[in-house]
């Protein structure tokens, strides 16, 4: 495999060399100057090919089956829905929104907090510079990369078959997702800090754990809190959708009302969610600026 790769890269290098003639020009005083090979064209070509392939696969196929006219005439449907939502806003529905919305918020809070708490110790164990020669960081990073491939909803879906419906699976899914993301972000940070202070404190007779607490934590804690807040925002938006797999929260009533085409109610749900998200976003921005 390796020889194949080097053969290909050699071919490539030869091509670039032979191409050099066309890219060289002579300046007034006789020196040759060669423009470096521009990958831009190749990259553009590759992307274009990929684009054509996918376009064919999805869009052309779609137009074949349903017809371009049909599509164009259906686009307004989207905006009609929005229009109905705006026009038929049904404020009296708000009472039914409060409880699920609160549930969604709670799921995000607990999910984020618990995910964060578990992530810090694991992040420490996953940092090569703290763990020295141990292979544990490699193992942890490998499992983390697999866990990270699934968004919250996939976990919620799987859990819904094991634990049944309700907010519990929503919380569990959020915890796992949050854990996977924060651990990665934290070990990336820990691996880039200055170890000097850590070594110095160890030399005073502290254990590794004490040295970590004294020398490393002050360097990372600000960013840790910032990351938690950032994840809280993400989880809030994800929690709103959990309802679609019956994992609790506002997604359930959203799904129901959409199915019933009661756009007025949907509008109220969206607005309530929007309000919460905006408040959380602004507050989070303010806090995160104070933390760094």
């Amino acid at each position: 495999m390796k020889t194949l790769c080097s053969k290909i890269s050699n071919l490539f290098k030869n091509f670039i060399k032979r191409n050099e003639r066309y890219r060289t020009s002579v300046l007034d005083d006789g020196t040759n100057i060669t423009r470096p090979f521009s990958y831009a064209l190749i990259i553009f070509a590759v992307v274009a090919i990929i684009f054509v392939y996918f376009w064919n696969m999805i869009v052309t196929d779609f137009f074949d089956r349903f017809g371009f006219q049909f599509f164009v005439s259906s686009i307004p449907n989207f905006f009609t829905i929005i229009q109905k939502m705006v026009v038929q806003v049904n404020w009296s529905y708000f009472d039914k929104v409060v409880a699920p919305l609160v549930d969604t918020i709670k799921i995000s809070i607990i999910g984020t907090l618990l995910g964060a708490i578990f992530s810090l110790p694991v992040a420490i164990l996953a940092s090569q510079n703290i763990m020295g020669k141990s292979k544990i960081p490699n193992i942890i990073k490998f499992f983390l990369s697999i866990i990270r491939t699934f968004p919250t909803l996939v976990y919620a879906l799987i859990f819904s078959f094991i634990f049944g419906y309700g907010t519990f699976i929503g919380v569990l899914a959020t915890i796992i997702f949050t854990f996977s993301i924060i651990t990665k972000m934290m070990y990336e940070i820990i691996e880039t800090i200055d170890m000097g202070a850590f070594i110095a404190i160890e030399a005073t007779g502290a254990t590794k754990l004490q040295a970590f607490r004294a020398a490393v934590i002050p360097q990372i804690i600000g960013r840790f809190y910032s990351i938690i807040l950032y994840n809280f925002e993400i989880n809030l938006r994800a929690s709103a959708i959990l309802g679609f797999v019956n994992a609790g929260g506002i997604g359930i009533i959203m799904n129901d009302q959409m199915a019933l085409m009661k756009y007025g109610n949907v509008a109220v749900i969206v607005l309530a969610l929007l309000a919460v998200v905006i408040v959380v976003q602004n507050f989070s921005q303010y806090l995160r600026r104070r933390l760094t």
Partner: protein, 267 residues
Amino acid sequence: MQTILQKYDERPRNGLRNTITISVILFLTVWSADIINYPGLFENGLNIARNIFKALYNPTWHLIFSVEVDSIPFLMFETLGIAFLGTLLGAILSIPFAFLTAKNIVGRFNIIGNTIITTIRSFPFFLIALMFVRVSGPGPMTGVLTIGVLSIGMISKLYIEVIEDIDPGILLALDALGATKYQKIRYGIIPQLTASIISVVIYRFEINVKNATVLGIVGAGGIGVTLLTAMNAGRWRDAAAALWGIIIVVLIVDYFSTMLRKKLVNG
């Protein structure tokens, strides 16, 4: 000794602020804790869990290795396609949004654009998918449209940052040596933008791949459909195959995305 005691008295008292912060967090935690109401295992829950776990070791192999329309590879390609076209669509749709919200173009009115973009970002994305289903039916096309709209949030923010940061100095310098408008854009503006734009677009693509896998649950095509149907029918091995498909593709995309973005940062 006196000076030392004096200095001791000068110490910063963070006690109050720390207590308040901890109290707030504790309060929120306790308040939210009732959400964890363990409902016990579903009737067959433990069995199902065991089956799912076993299935991960023994997924439906022929689904993973064939290339027919229903197979995992095909569906993962479809998912990639949804993410790819969707990201592209988002990149295009974001342009007008960005121009209408950049401070150096619309000044104080950027609040309108900002609100619209935030609204789009906070719109639960399944809702958008459901709305598009009324336009293009269940299927990957809906996925493309949904992802397109979803990406507007992040990409327009990026465009705005880039637009607001354009260094006018370079444009002035180019003006001074008599460049045409086209030349100014080509040599003055574009080089400043390309690296960061491409980097963010790649990042967004990575996120969109994950989102696309999930859209199938609402019927917008991709591997999510298989996952959902298989699980609903109790075909755990098929579901496991779908999960493996997701793992492999996301890992590959992740790897390339990180590598490409690192290269972009380093020039």
